[in-house]
């Protein structure tokens, strides 16, 4: 995507009507381009005003329930890399060599299983964006890559770095009447990280606040997902 393509996405980004790859691309533009950042900010504020105009009081009893639950809900510690400042972290500087290396590794491993020439244009574009995103994540200092086959078909790769985990899936078979669901497993306790909707078998998802010792697992669940896994994982990616 060129910068202008990404710029055109600012409105959809402000509505959060973009996918993870596009969101990442827009946020990169915002980081690098003050004009885009100003527009992004203004558009998101506009969307917020739209939301505010819809305000509707929740049931009165909810307040006490939430505040009671708050008492027993542990909060996330501020993460080490997290700042409240406005400076971009220096880790953003990307090494071209590393990017290319990473892209090559990923290309061999997952993103383009059957030759890019036969892919439809859009799918090729998605694969390319996926590679770009993974390459960027891999170029963060201390980033690690874990890869595995998905039983039933497809490949999975996980890049961890800082408190962000990037998951890329490719070649996943289409499901009907069921959904792929992602789990973060820590100390043998799975917590849902949401239902996944791969496009043409491809999906990239960024997860934040994943503990360093946690693993990711993918299962097939009834449409809409389950509160606990009901099938054996197709793949588990762990540190």
């Amino acid at each position: 995507m060129t910068d202008d393509d990404v710029r055109d996405l600012l409105g959809a980004w402000a509505l959060d009507a973009v996918d993870d790859v596009e969101r990442k691309a827009v946020e990169r533009l915002i980081r690098d381009d003050p004009e885009a950042a100003a527009e992004a900010r203004a558009l998101r504020d506009t969307v917020t005003r739209l939301a505010v105009s819809d305000a509707a009081a929740p049931p009165a009893a909810l307040r006490a329930q939430v505040l009671a639950a708050v008492e027993s809900t542990r909060q996330l510690e501020p993460s080490a890399g997290h700042t409240h400042g406005s400076e971009s972290p220096p880790a953003r500087r990307r090494s071209k060599t590393l990017r290319l290396l990473a892209a090559a590794a990923i290309l061999i491993g997952i993103a383009v299983p059957s030759g890019i020439a036969v892919l439809q244009a859009q799918r090729a574009e998605q694969a390319e964006q996926q590679v770009e995103l993974l390459a960027e994540a891999l170029s963060e200092p201390g980033a690690t890559l874990v890869r595995a086959d998905v039983s039933g078909g497809g490949k999975a790769a996980m890049v961890t770095g800082g408190d962000t985990v990037l998951l890329a899936l490719s070649g996943l078979p289409e499901l009907s009447g069921q959904d792929y669901q992602l789990w973060v497993i820590q100390d043998d306790v799975p917590v849902s990280a949401g239902v996944l909707h791969p496009k043409d078998g491809l999906l990239t998802r960024e997860l934040t606040d994943v503990p360093a010792t946690a693993a990711l697992a993918l299962t097939i669940e009834p449409t809409g997902g389950s509160t606990q896994p009901t099938t054996d994982p197709l793949v588990v990616l762990g540190p």
Binding site: L9, A12, L15, L62, L67, R74, Q75, H84, T223, G224
Partner: protein
């Protein structure tokens, strides 16, 4: 013009609006002023520059930092100021009061749990919560029912909603009226794209598909539509 129910504001004794400042600050701060709890919050809450809500130093942002440090009272104030907006968005997307209440509870707890991840440099508390709410509500829609038959119901002309449970102040009525008037100033196609993406929980790709339009066309409709909405709201001088 939409019809608005003529009920008098509940609570009767609400303080007068702080002039045009409310247009920028929105009901969040109106609610903050109106809750009657503000006197417990110490001097930091008053006298903050109007308009700062969208900045990194807004009142809610400061409260969120306190909440991140475990301050439950600060969080209670955040709840009072933001839960109606969270609930309103959830209800628009889900169209089911019970589910909307559940999502409201989930989002508020998530906000408490992840308060340390809120970054005022990246947007306002209200924007953060709005995005979180829409995402959760959309996930819930997907798990509750098939996505496709909702399309019809989120019709473009459907953005108007009569005033209801939210205790309406004169300033809030004016703000809502502004938003409705400004939505009316969009072209039908722009409004359709914005409303379908936001409340229909669709990505711009899905909007393009359902409307039989190209991706660049829909991207532009959304971006241009939101920019027009923003300019309109900035220029609004309603009494």
């Amino acid at each position: 013009m939409p019809e608005f129910s003529p009920e008098t504001p509940a609570g009767g004794e609400r303080r007068a609006a702080a002039g045009r400042a409310r247009a920028r600050v929105g009901p969040a701060c109106g609610a903050l002023r109106d809750t009657g709890t503000v006197s417990n919050q110490g001097p930091g809450l008053r006298g903050t520059t109007p308009g700062a809500t969208t900045g990194s130093r807004d009142q809610l942002g400061v409260l969120m930092q306190r909440a991140a440090a475990g301050d439950q009272d600060a969080f209670a104030t955040i709840y009072d100021a933001t839960a109606p907006v969270v609930h309103g968005v959830a209800r628009r997307v889900l169209r089911d009061p019970d589910l909307a209440a559940e999502v409201t509870q989930e989002v508020m707890l998530e906000a408490w749990r992840t308060a340390s991840r809120f970054d005022g440099a990246r947007g306002s508390v209200m924007a953060w919560l709005t995005t979180m709410t829409r995402r959760r509500a959309v996930d819930r829609v997907r798990s509750e029912q098939s996505h496709r038959d909702r399309d019809e119901r989120v019709a473009a002309g459907d953005f108007r909603r009569p005033f209801d449970e939210v205790a309406e102040t004169a300033e809030r009525r004016a703000e809502v009226l502004d938003v409705h008037r400004c939505l009316d100033s969009l072209t039908d196609l722009q409004r359709d794209a914005v409303v379908t993406a936001f409340y229909g929980g669709q990505t711009y790709r899905e909007v393009a598909q359902s409307r039989g339009a190209s991706l660049p066309t829909v991207k532009s409709r959304i971006r241009d539509g939101l920019n027009r909405l923003r300019r309109c709201l900035d220029g609004m001088q309603s009494p």
